[in-house]
């Protein structure tokens, strides 16, 4: 194993989970292939990586792969699939009530229903904890655009989420 590959495994592979999550939120089930393709491309382009934030760098490649390989063919918004590991959280709680599960499902559907540019901005900010500057670098949008997308994403999400959960508000 050469030095380059060792560096790649140290710097980039720890962000595999983030790459996978973003790819899935962007592309649904197809996201898995996109994530795989993106990591391989990242490895090929690793010569060109000259320091900086490896996570943002990898996520930018994931995003580019998504839009170049899927963007032209996929027209539907991905919905979170039922079943498969089921709902979000790290530690699935067996005590989780049906109401909790339903609330989570509705939130995830509301996220999935957001237009691509809002959904990706929201995922990067709230799930990947990326700064505005990093989001700007990943999405190639100016910071002002990132801020307004984020505001719009939150407003839309709130609207759709509360419409769904109104009847079960405390």
């Amino acid at each position: 194993m050469d030095e380059q590959r060792r560096r790649f495994e140290q710097l980039v592979l720890p962000h595999l989970g983030a790459a996978y999550n973003l790819a899935r939120w962007l592309g649904g089930r197809d996201g898995e292939d996109v994530a795989q393709d993106a990591v391989l491309r990242a490895f090929r382009a690793f010569d060109g990586f000259r320091g900086g934030d490896a996570k943002a760098w990898l996520l930018a490649i994931v995003r580019n792969c998504h839009y170049t390989t899927l963007g032209r063919t996929r027209k539907t918004v991905p919905l979170p699939e039922q079943g498969e590991n089921d709902i979000a959280s790290d530690a699935p709680d067996p005590e989780r009530s049906a109401i909790d599960a339903d609330r989570a499902r509705k939130l995830n559907q509301a996220i999935a229903s957001l237009p691509d540019e809002f959904r990706e901005t929201l995922v990067l900010r709230e799930m990947e904890d990326m700064s505005y500057r990093e989001i700007a670098e990943i999405t190639g949008a100016p910071i002002g655009t990132v801020m307004s997308r984020l505001a719009r994403a939150r407003a839309l999400l709130r609207e759709r989420w509360s419409a769904e959960t109104k009847e079960m508000a405390p």
Partner: protein
């Protein structure tokens, strides 16, 4: 009706403000009910997302597949690298120095040396793609102005270096504006010039010594790069290579003079 400070409040909720601005927003939140609702809403939504939003995690088999992909690729790459080294002597990757108008004035300040071809090639490809992206998309300029007194301060605070910004309209290269871009994992200041119907992107970033100056063509685009005053410059356009060198000469003369 949205309070004009809404984006500031959001930036506060996202931890993007410095202490002074954060304090100002906190004071604003005490008096603006609308922003208070906005802020509480963001925090509430964040809690809900942390609790309920799905975080897709790859199966162990996925990570395994990636590792074997990389191992396979690594072997191919080493083969390729051996071949490239074997033919390196007969190929000229970056031919010619910067040349052109101010070449002699520059000779002293420019470091020209041969570099690993792969990194240089990658850079040239990145630059060409960024150039194409800027022409296709809506992101050619962030700040539109032909006035270098407007464009130069715009970069302050957005980059940790100050690119030399000049307008060369009289010489046929009017300044159109500037933007930020991201090349090879680095934030780059970009100066945008026009020459007739051609657009020229000049990428500027801090020179870390990993790249060397030179000239190269990628898919019909000419790329000229040089170093000056601790910065690395890379100009790209589809106009004549000679004209591109003229512009790079003007920029260099401006930077050194």
């Amino acid at each position: 009706m949205t309070c004009e400070r809404a984006l500031e409040v959001q930036a506060y909720a996202d931890g993007e403000l410095d202490a002074v601005s954060a304090l100002a927003v906190e004071q604003h939140l005490e008096t603006c009910a609308e922003c208070r609702v906005l802020y509480d809403g963001i925090v509430e939504m964040r809690t809900a997302l942390k609790r309920d939003a799905r975080y897709y995690r790859p199966a162990a088999a996925f990570a395994q597949r990636i590792r074997s992909d990389i191992a396979r690729e690594d072997i191919h790459r080493e083969d390729g690298a051996t071949r490239a080294r074997a033919t390196f002597g007969s190929r000229s990757f970056w031919t010619g120095a910067v040349g052109g108008v101010a070449a002699t004035a520059l000779a002293a300040s420019l470091a020209l040396f041969v570099m690993l071809p792969s990194a240089q090639d990658q850079l040239a490809n990145d630059i060409a793609s960024a150039h194409v992206r800027s022409l296709l998309g809506t992101h050619l300029i962030d700040i539109a102005s032909s006035n270098h007194h407007v464009v130069k301060p715009w970069f302050a605070g957005r980059t940790d270096f100050s690119p030399p910004v000049g307008d060369y309209g009289e010489q046929g290269f009017p300044l159109v504006g500037g933007r930020l871009d991201y090349i090879g994992g680095k934030r780059s200041a970009v100066l945008v010039y026009r020459h007739g119907a051609h657009v020229v992107n000049v990428f500027v970033w801090k020179d870390d010594g990993s790249l060397s100056a030179g000239a190269k063509d990628v898919s019909g685009y000419h790329i000229v790069s040089w170093k000056e005053g601790g910065l690395f410059f890379c100009a790209v356009s589809d106009m004549e290579a000679g004209e591109l060198r003229d512009l790079s000469g003007l920029i260099q003369k401006n930077a050194s003079g």
